[in-house]
Amino acid sequence: MTRPILLQGGRVIDPSRGLDQVADVLIQDGRIAAVGASLGAPDGADVRTVRGAIVAPGLVDVHVHLREPGNEDVETIASGTRAAAAGGFTAVCAMPNTDPVTDNQAAVGFIVRQSMRAACARVYPIGAVSVGQKGAQLAEFGELVGAGAVAVSDDGRPIASSHLMRTALEYARTFGIPVADHCEEPTLAARGVMHEGLVSARLGLKGIPAAAEEIMVARDILVADLTGGHVHLCHMSTRGSVELIRRGKERGIHVTAEVTPHHLSLTDRACEGYDTHAKMNPPLREEADVAALRAALKEGVIDCVASDHAPHAYDAKEAAFDDAPFGIIGLETAFGVTHTELVQGGTLTLPELIDRMSTAPARAFRLPGGTLQPGALADVAVLDVSSPWRVDPAAFHSKSRNSPFAGRTLTGRALLTLVAGNVVHDAGASRPR
């Protein structure tokens, strides 16, 4: 068994219990043993003074692409979970658009085994909704869940067929898992590479109108109402989507939603100069959308922040805008970006941000974690929210470098990340782990 750890004198923020006070946290046998003032250190304990830092439940990311199996050149489960740990994440949900697609129990089992071998942040696999993500035949949800999947999604491809969405939501009810949808009406978004607006008109790039997302958000909410299933809406990007979700929740429909750090902080103006690091799907939208997404996260209309960490080879992004792939990495900047933009920017309190990045996503996907309740698994992040740091992609643990935040000065980063009481990231150590 690992040594007990005593985290002394930090500001403990546990949104699951509404706790925000200076206290010690004692970790024993991989679990939270006690949270309180002046706890004694058991024999042989690793005592760490974390005065001035935040002690929070480990961050949870319900939307990452780890690229293994199939594209290990740009990320592996080992490198992706190291990046997660460095970003303060103790658990990530891996999207199934791997090669081959994670659409069967053996494929889910492979991801579980690789994550055990990596022994870093936890990986919860997400299975495909349809076989091969082809949008036709339902995957075997029962076997996927049996092997360890916590949700199903065809992310990367929208579920075009409303009939498939309906049966997926109905069938998923048996297993109590959400169906996570990438909301995009494919004929309206066809060949689009950025938000349709003034910037796309100037740049001569094919736009993706906000309506392409909103049509599918509306459909998914209606179908969730029809079926009583739980729909989770991935990476929301428009103010119209926010209004649809608000109305759906008011009517008691089981809908949850996520938003990415980049959609909370950047607009389509980032595409000027044809910067392919600003190319993602859904695209970066307008100021009014960013403002609505921030307000929705504050109010809880949007439940949580998710990174949509999407690694790509450096030379794939080194191309004309039309030819570059969609997506950016985000695990190592997610907390810094949201803390700088939303907490220092005055939208959220720090406990609210930790809720939206830990407690709320764990609740939405019914995962363990998101709490420092004594007895809970000791998945813990110690966060520095006062020292500015400069984003240097060359220093990332991820195998990829495709970040639009390179060179930005952020405040907020993980000092120490513990999974089941084991140190998986230590910014103070000469080498992590």
């Binding site: 796309s200 008109a201 001569g204 790039l205 044809y274 191309a319 004309a320 039309d322």
Partner: protein
């Protein structure tokens, strides 16, 4: 005047009115070169220029090639088919290989918007955009401006309407920037399915009916309508397009003043423009083609470091230096 063009010509959006005037003024002395029996001046002697065409083009490529040859540059033409590009070479590799051959200038046409800027940021050679996706086609707009200036003696205060497929037109975007910077009033006219949503924000007037545009304008720049647009569902048929938006003799007959008619080519006679208009007295379509060579000579000369004051001398035999 201390105005220069900088390293590249990517688009008119980033140029000042002074820079636009510099190019047009520099084109004037070069017009005469093409009228001589021996159409050659030594202004770019010893310079190597690659014409890199990733998209089919006849008139733009030939126009650039004549401009280069009449300035005595050494030129190489590369087209996408049959080159390493067709074998899967990326744009960045193409750029690095050109750089390694120490060429002086690249004239590039590419199907992706932003490709010219992409190349310009990565090589030291001068880059001239000969059309990138649906972004810009700066030398086409410059020759349109020169043709208007020849015809009217000024650009400022002119009312110019771009008619047709503005959504997919790099010519339209470059014209909007160039005309507005030089003080013209700009309008667009076409079916809404072929106009960018919110284009008014660029400072242009939108006409839904071609009759209104004809009533308003001093000059029409009639854009080419590509057959693929019908197949992609932007318009129902070419026949109906001509019925509703075609620039015809009958429609022009109702204009309050004589309109000047331009077209960037190649024309679809009987689709966006009536043959009788294209061949009629108000058409300056062939003047545009003639001016194209002079404008491109001016751009190449200026990017190579040439000065307006020296353009006359260059014409008589001096170099660009």
């Amino acid at each position: 005047m201390n105005v220069t063009l900088g390293k590249d010509l990517i688009g008119l959006a980033s140029l000042s009115a002074d820079q636009l005037r510099l190019i047009l003024d520099t084109a004037e002395p070069f017009k005469e070169v093409s009228e001589r029996p021996i159409k050659k001046v030594p202004a770019l002697r010893g310079k190597t220029i690659v014409n890199l065409f990733f998209e089919a083009s006849t008139r733009t490529r030939i126009s650039f090639e004549f401009a280069e040859k009449r300035l005595s540059a050494d030129t190489v033409n590369v087209s996408a088919s049959g080159s390493s590009v067709a074998k899967g070479e990326t744009l960045v590799d193409t750029a690095k290989n050109l750089e390694a051959m120490r060429i002086d200038m690249v004239v590039m046409r590419h199907p992706s918007s932003g490709a010219a800027e992409f190349l310009a940021k990565r090589i030291r050679s001068n880059v001239v955009n000969a059309g990138d996706g649906t972004h810009e086609h700066p030398t086409q707009a410059l020759l349109d401006l020169l043709t208007l200036r020849d015809k009217f003696g000024r650009i400022e205060g002119l009312k110019v309407c771009l008619v047709g497929d503005v959504l997919h037109s790099r010519v339209a975007r470059s014209n909007i920037w160039g005309l507005s910077k030089l003080g013209a009033q700009v309008a667009v006219c076409g079916p809404h399915s072929l106009l960018p949503r919110g284009i008014e924000a660029l400072g242009v007037t939108v006409f839904e009916h071609v009759e209104e545009a004809i009533h308003w304008a001093d000059a029409l720049n009639v854009l080419r309508l590509q057959l693929e647009r019908m197949e992609a569902g932007f318009i129902p048929s070419l026949r109906e397009y001509y019925r509703v938006f075609g620039v015809t003799v009958e429609r022009l007959a109702n204009a309050p003043r004589n309109l000047t008619i331009m077209h960037p080519g190649p024309m679809n006679r009987g689709v966006e423009i009536d043959s009788r208009v294209a061949d009629g007295p108000h058409s300056v379509i062939l003047d545009q083609v003639t001016n194209g060579v002079a404008v491109r000579m001016a751009v190449l000369y200026l990017l190579a470091g040439g000065k307006l004051e020296l353009a006359d001398a260059a014409k008589r035999g001096g170099g660009a230096e």
